[in-house]
Symmetry: C2
Subunit: 203 residues, 2 copies
């Protein structure tokens, strides 16, 4: 899995590397704030201080907290990577879930969780599209790939193509974290896959 990938910062004229370094320092500080004090605790002043710069340098580039955090989130979680064929859709999905669980514990993952949990419905509007493209679509997309692989392999029924099917894993994983306040142990993942996904998908 790769680390957070900051957006490409144009090098600009010779001697402007300081600008690119400053952008990275600000984004890194914002990510750090999100992971520790969360959306509610993050302030532009706090980010500037942690990046050892002035507020103006932050506001000039990102006029609002929402603008700044949007960039941080868009840089996204560590990539989940490809899921190598484990021989069965059961094993493929178990591996996917473990990687999703581990990525939500990364610093970017903590940042995402804080925004998801703390935004009131007003601010959350601004982030849903980002969260959807950064977390949801990739996980749902990976589930779809693994289901398709299973259909080809012959251990998934050919009509298991409904859109809601791809939502089950992200929904269940978010539910347990958000509502039950508990984490996904390896054994929990295996139980969930065996109780829900295998019967749902099998021929």
């Amino acid at each position: 899995m790769m680390g957070a990938r900051w957006p490409e910062v144009p090098a600009g004229a010779a001697g402007r590397r300081r600008g690119a370094e400053l952008v990275r320092a600000i984004l890194d500080a914002a990510l750090g704030q999100l992971s520790t004090v969360g959306w509610n605790g993050l302030t532009m002043e706090g980010v500037a201080a942690q990046a050892r710069t002035g507020k103006a340098a932050v506001y000039r580039r990102w006029p609002s907290k929402t603008d700044l955090v949007a960039v941080v989130l868009r840089a996204g979680l560590p990539s989940l990577g490809e899921i190598p064929d484990q021989g069965s859709v059961r094993e493929d999905l178990i591996l996917l879930c473990r990687r999703m669980r581990d990525s939500m514990h990364s610093r970017s993952g903590q940042a995402l969780r804080s925004v998801l949990h703390e935004c009131d419905s007003g601010s959350a509007q601004a982030f849903r599209e980002i969260i959807r493209s950064v977390v949801i679509d990739p996980s749902a997309g990976l589930v779809r790939d693994l289901v398709r692989r299973g259909i080809e392999r012959g251990d998934v029924r050919p009509d298991a193509t409904g859109d809601y099917i791809a939502d089950v894993i992200p929904a269940m994983m978010m539910y347990r974290s958000k509502v039950c306040g508990s984490e996904w142990e390896d054994s929990d993942i295996t139980e969930m896959i065996d109780q829900v996904l295998v019967p749902l998908l099998r021929v």
Copy 2:
């Protein structure tokens, strides 16, 4: 479905009805605040003002925002009631989901959603047990009842008794509302039941 059921307030000595009325006014004001400005916007002063009383009257009974909101939530959502046998587990679950959707649109439902969405992880600890007993366990319990009915009826496989199975519906419904910011139309509910629950449960 019944309205919010405030906890029994002892009548006490003759002439203390004002106390009970005041408690109801305060709880009603707190519920109103939660439904409109949410957990973040609710203040003890605002609640007191809306209940046309002084802050002291509120703090005396509920020393903190958490204590006050806990009572409001514990009084709970309108009861989902019994789900009369619709003839198939599919129809039973569709009806359950519609009632869950409707109850989350009630004033108590809005209040619950605001707490769920806005509590940062610190405060949320305090509410998880309440939310679990008020929303989660009842919905999951109802799903279990309907699954058991289906097993007896013969349209659900006898081994569909895993705990994660009962979480699928609440997880999916919360996911779409929270992450996708969209509501459950009747047709969405039917699609979700057909794509996920029916294959998951059938013999």
